[in-house]
Amino acid sequence: MAALKESDLRLFVDSVTRYFQVTSRTPPQIAAAYLGTDSVPMHDLNGIVSFSGRFSGQVTVSLPAIAVRELLLMQRETDLSESNLLDAVGEIANTLAGNARQTLGNGLEISVPMTMRGRSGRPARVRQHPYVITFRWNTHPGLVCVDLDRVA
C-alpha cells in the first residue's frame, strides 16, 4: 500500500467547504485538519463511502442530527424523519467521495453510501493515521474522516 500524502488528502477540505457553500450558501469554518490517532470523536449521523480500484479505504462524514435537520430545512425539505436525515448525510459522503475523482482520477472507484447512527463502530482502518477534518457549520460541529491509501 502506498500512502497518500497529506497534501493529496487536502482536497477533502476544499470539497466539504464547497458542499456546504453550494447547498446552503453558508460555508463551514474549518477548525482543524490533521492525521488522527485511534480515537476520532464521531457525531450522531454517519455517512460512509468505501473506495476500491486503485485505492482502498473509506470516507466518513459525521454530523449531529440537528445540523442535518437545519441543512434540509434550508433546502425546503419537509421530511425530517431519521431515514431522511441518514440519507442526507450519506449523500454528503457520496459527494465528497465522487468529487475526489477529479484529483485522484477514475481509478478511484466509489461505493454507494452506507449510513450509520451512533458514535461507535467505525469501519476497519487502512491507514495508521486517517486524515481528520473538523469543522463548524451553522454553529454545529462536524467532521470528515478520510481513511484512504493507494493500492500498490
Binding site: 464547497r18 447547498t23 425546503r76 425539505e77 457520496n94 465522487g98
Partner: protein
C-alpha cells in the same frame, strides 16, 4: 413536460422535484422518481419521459448502464446527468452514451434550473 428523476438518494430526488416545480420549465408532470436504473426503465416504459435527470452511482443498475437502454426505448428523451463523479472522463463517457448535459454535484437551485432550461431550449 414529462420528467423522470433518477437518484438513489430520496433527499436529492425530493430536492430536484421541488426546484423544478418552482422554476421556469412550465407545467411539469413527474413520470417517476426512480432509485436506480431498473426502476427508471420500468417508469419510462409506462410513461415516456421528455426529460430525465440521472445520477450515476446507484445500487443495481447504475446511470452509465441505464442511459443507452433508456435512449433505446425513448430516443427523444433528453438526459441530464447529475453526479458527484466530476472527473472529466466520466462526463465524456456519459455524453458519448447519449446524455445531453452534465451537472456536477454539489449543485445549487440556479445551476439546476439553468441546466434543465438549456436542455429544453435545445429541443425546441
Amino acid at each position: 413536460m414529462k420528467l423522470l428523476i433518477v437518484d438513489d438518494s430520496n433527499v436529492v430526488r425530493s430536492r430536484i422535484a421541488r426546484i423544478v416545480q418552482r422554476g421556469a420549465l412550465g407545467p411539469v408532470t413527474f413520470v417517476g422518481l426512480a432509485r436506480n436504473g431498473q426502476e427508471a426503465l420500468r417508469a419510462a416504459r409506462q410513461s415516456p419521459p421528455d426529460l430525465v435527470t440521472m445520477d450515476l452511482t446507484m445500487p443495481g443498475m447504475d446511470g452509465l448502464a441505464c442511459i443507452p437502454e433508456l435512449l433505446a426505448l425513448h430516443p427523444q428523451a433528453s438526459i441530464l446527468v447529475i453526479s458527484a463523479l466530476t472527473d472529466k472522463s466520466t462526463a465524456i463517457k456519459a455524453l458519448r452514451l447519449g446524455a445531453r448535459g452534465f451537472l456536477p454535484k454539489p449543485f445549487d437551485d440556479d445551476a439546476l434550473q439553468l441546466a434543465l432550461l438549456s436542455l429544453t431550449a435545445r429541443k425546441a
